[in-house]
């Protein structure tokens, strides 16, 4: 008798909790950056030039889509970088600014396409010239704002890398330090 009761109880426990149809709660995916725009504003005034990179399908198999950077020759620009998560309509740039001491942008471009900075950027060598217009609380460069002066007519590549360097960002920490939050490459046309 006792046995039957016990067995009955087992089945009761087993099958009462069975059916549910809860779907996972929607999450704000804050890691994702699916919209990046580079805004080159001529320092002498004029219409800002905007180039974008857009991820059409999140973590799906489709490639990022780029529009070219088209700058005028021999012109001084300030570049500001805008990073967004369009799904949650978040400004990732704000988060970067808040954690400026853990983040840094690095730039790479065709040899001497700018008269300032000269060279090919600081991705291959940290000490190479890039004109950072912002810095973290420790006086180290950040890179959401930078200055550029174009040289003559040319078509080349322009690469932007954002590194997350928590606790390891220093005056010498290069692009190999930390993990990569962003690494995109645009075509740049100087005309």
């Amino acid at each position: 008798m006792k046995t039957k009761l016990l067995a009955g109880l087992f089945f009761l426990i087993l099958f009462t909790a069975c059916k549910d149809d809860d779907i996972p709660e929607p999450e704000n995916d804050e890691e994702i950056i699916d919209y990046v725009s580079l805004t080159f504003t001529p320092k002498s005034g004029g219409v800002p030039i905007i180039a974008t990179a857009i991820d059409p399908d999140g973590e799906g198999v489709k490639d990022f889509e780029f529009t070219d950077i088209k700058l005028n020759e021999a012109t001084e620009y300030q570049l500001s970088i805008d990073l967004r998560n369009t799904a949650t309509n978040e400004d990732i740039g704000d988060e970067i600014r808040e954690e400026a001491d853990e983040h840094m942008f690095f730039f790479g471009f065709g040899q001497d396409i700018f008269t300032s900075p000269t060279g090919n950027g600081n991705i291959d060598s940290r000490q190479d010239d890039v004109n950072y217009d912002d810095e973290d609380s420790g006086g180290l460069p950040l890179g959401l704002k930078t200055s550029w002066t174009t040289g003559g007519v040319d078509t080349e590549k322009f690469r932007v890398v954002l590194k997350h360097q928590p606790g390891v960002k220093t005056a010498t920490s290069d692009v190999s330090v930390g993990s990569t939050d962003l690494d995109l490459e645009w075509n740049i046309i100087i005309q």
Binding site: T3, L6, A7, F10, F11, I13, L14, F15, A17, C18, K19, D20, D21, D22, I23, P24, E25, P26, E27, N28, D29, E30, E31, I32, I33, D34, V36, D55, D57, G58, E59, G60, V61, K62, D63, F64, A87, E95, E98, E99, E102, H164, P166, G167, V168, V175, S176, V177, G178, S179, T180, D181, L182, D183, L184, E185
Partner: protein
Amino acid sequence: MNKLLFFLLISSVPWMALAQSNTCDVKVSGEVVDAVSKEPVAYATIQVVGSSVGVLTDEFGYFELDGLCDQEIDLKIAHLGYKSLVHHHDPDHHHHIVHLSPESLQLQGVVIEEVKKSAGLTSGVSKSISAKELDAYLGGNLGDALTTVSGVNAVSNGQNIVKPVVHGLHTNRVLIINNELRHEFQNWGDGHAAEIELSAVDRIEVVKGAATVRYGSEALGGVVKLSDAPLNLHSGFNGQAVMSGRSNGRAAHAAFNLQYGFDAVSLAVHAGTTKQGDLTAADYQLTNTGKQSWEAGLNARFHKGVSDFTLGLSHVQQKLGILRGSVVGNLNDLDTAMRTEPPYFTKDFSYEIGTPYQEVAHSMAKLKGLFLKGEHVFEIIYGLQRNSRKEFDVRRGTNNSLPSINLLLYAQSLSLDWEHPKLAAWKGNAGLQINFTDNNNIAGTNTTPFLPNYNTFKIGGYWIESVALTASTIDLGLRYDFQKSDVRGRDSSNEPYFNELRFENITATVGWNKVTDHFNISTNLGLAWRAPNMAELYSFGKHQAIIQYGLLRYEIDENGQISTGKILTNEDKNVGSELGYKWVGSVDHQKNKSRLSFTLYANWIKNYIYSRPYGITQTQRGALPYYIYEQTNALLTGFDIDWSVKHNANWQSKFSGDYVYARDVKNDSWFVGIPPAAVKYELLYQKKNEGKVDYWSVGLSPGYIFSQYQAPQVITVGEIIESEGQILNSATGVFDFLAAPAGYFLLQLNAKVNIKQFQLGLGVYNVTNAKYRSYTNTMRYFADEKGFDLSLDLKYNF
């Protein structure tokens, strides 16, 4: 009498079946060990009470009595210096482990009865790890302890996350049964090991045959059975307490295991805790490889008349650090990390565990009833398990303190087994197993979970028979399984999706076993199956420097063009279950001072699920290679060998080795991560009763692990970056980012001293502080394995 018979029956696996009849061919075997040191006791006398029949144990403590006419006899086990024991033997137990207690101690000896092959089928090859062998892993992890069984290796994701590999298969292809319940956890991917602390485990048995018929799906490679200490009646108070420390990781471990056996009730409690800091490789610190864990459990048994009830409760909590330098965001990071040594973020020693780490908790409750009615035996087991897993990654801002994976799983199971009375030469049992799991994402991870919420219902029925022939036994078994999963998830744009998955399979097994004076020969052919796991079906997105798409997350058109926009159902893509056909043959030979065991196997798996690179995609972190899960056919074959020789009373040698050959037969290529061949030798010197020292031993154990020569092609990250991914378009099949590491030589040393109830152990792992990397550890891309490690442990037997 009846009571005693029942006591013996219930401590056995009821479906065990061995030949027996009423003529004079009854055979009894067993081993005699020292209750304190667990060392075998040679030359102990085993005598049938009231007769002149008797034998001595051999050098390994083994004995065998045959040609007995009576099914039920009393055996007297005695040895100078030990308290002698009288044990009542009944026909259902052919193998005994006799624990003799030294005369100098209060301790009482006990006899643990078991069937020599408690796998349910006599022909399914199985091997056990004794308590003595487990002593060497105090405070260590389960996966490492299991590697003492030949044919069992480990795959790991750093030193704290280690999973057993049986004959080349692991994760969902090896079933873990803990305290009689199927361990239910997030058993997918590389990085999740079973949440089990060794201090809770009394005995380990590895079944190397495909044992699906008895245990259900997933047992393609084999079954790892972990048992808590047996609950003995009338045994009074006994138990042990352990304290141990290790130099590497400056780890400390403490545990106890206490038991009281009354006349009708037996109670046992166990608990253990471990704290380990950063480990050290030969040349540098492995930053963030600490571990903190604790476990506690209670087992109780109540015995009355023809009924016997067992209650089991346990809880495990672990916080496991993962090497900080293994975190990469893209291919450039991976390239740098692989070329940087010591790894980035390497700091001085610390007990602190930062991101990335895992926080896991597993609780279980078991209720078991055993009932006798005439010669029928009924067993019913209900289990309830709760498994919580949180994984913390290196993330930006406040997200760094949020888990990026947070899953909670509840599992219930009910199993019923009926053993029928013996009918002529036929013995057997039949049963029903019902499982229900409910797996849910806990909100608040700020990342879209790729793993859906799901409920899975499984039901399976089996029937197993053993037929005794004149000099051998034939096993036959048949099983039917059905399982259904209701899936509810969200796609990458947060839109909900639903799916229902159904699988059903019929499996069977047939085997043959013959035991002669010196040989024990078995052969077994078994079918096994498993359904694809949720990660294999629904993976979507980046993990470290690669992207993975599950079987239901991508489509490939006639032109080979891939798209990942749609979530497929089983109507769109028919994903079949994995089906394994495993043959195992084994020969054990035992004569005089030598014991040799050789196992040969071949396992053909249809619809084998694996992931392979398919292309490269431009992401926010640059170009990343992406992998798709696919199904193929696999062949795994190999052998294991164990050989031990007692040279004399003091010197003993042991040799073991194993080899696996694994091939993707459809694509004609190798798989990544198959354990390489390994050989190990151990030379042991032991001495008994020297002055106040009851026992002492010193062992030296060199081992060599070969490089994996049967590894797929290598395409380095540098080559991928340089070719802007083009190299992946022209390459076909599986590749690895790095060549398999070189073979390595490891030297281990251990020493043991027993004085009365105390046992002091000393161990040195990696004596030469060798710098090496293991092919089956995913951390091999980033850092060396653990260097020199000195351990010291003190054990007290109550």
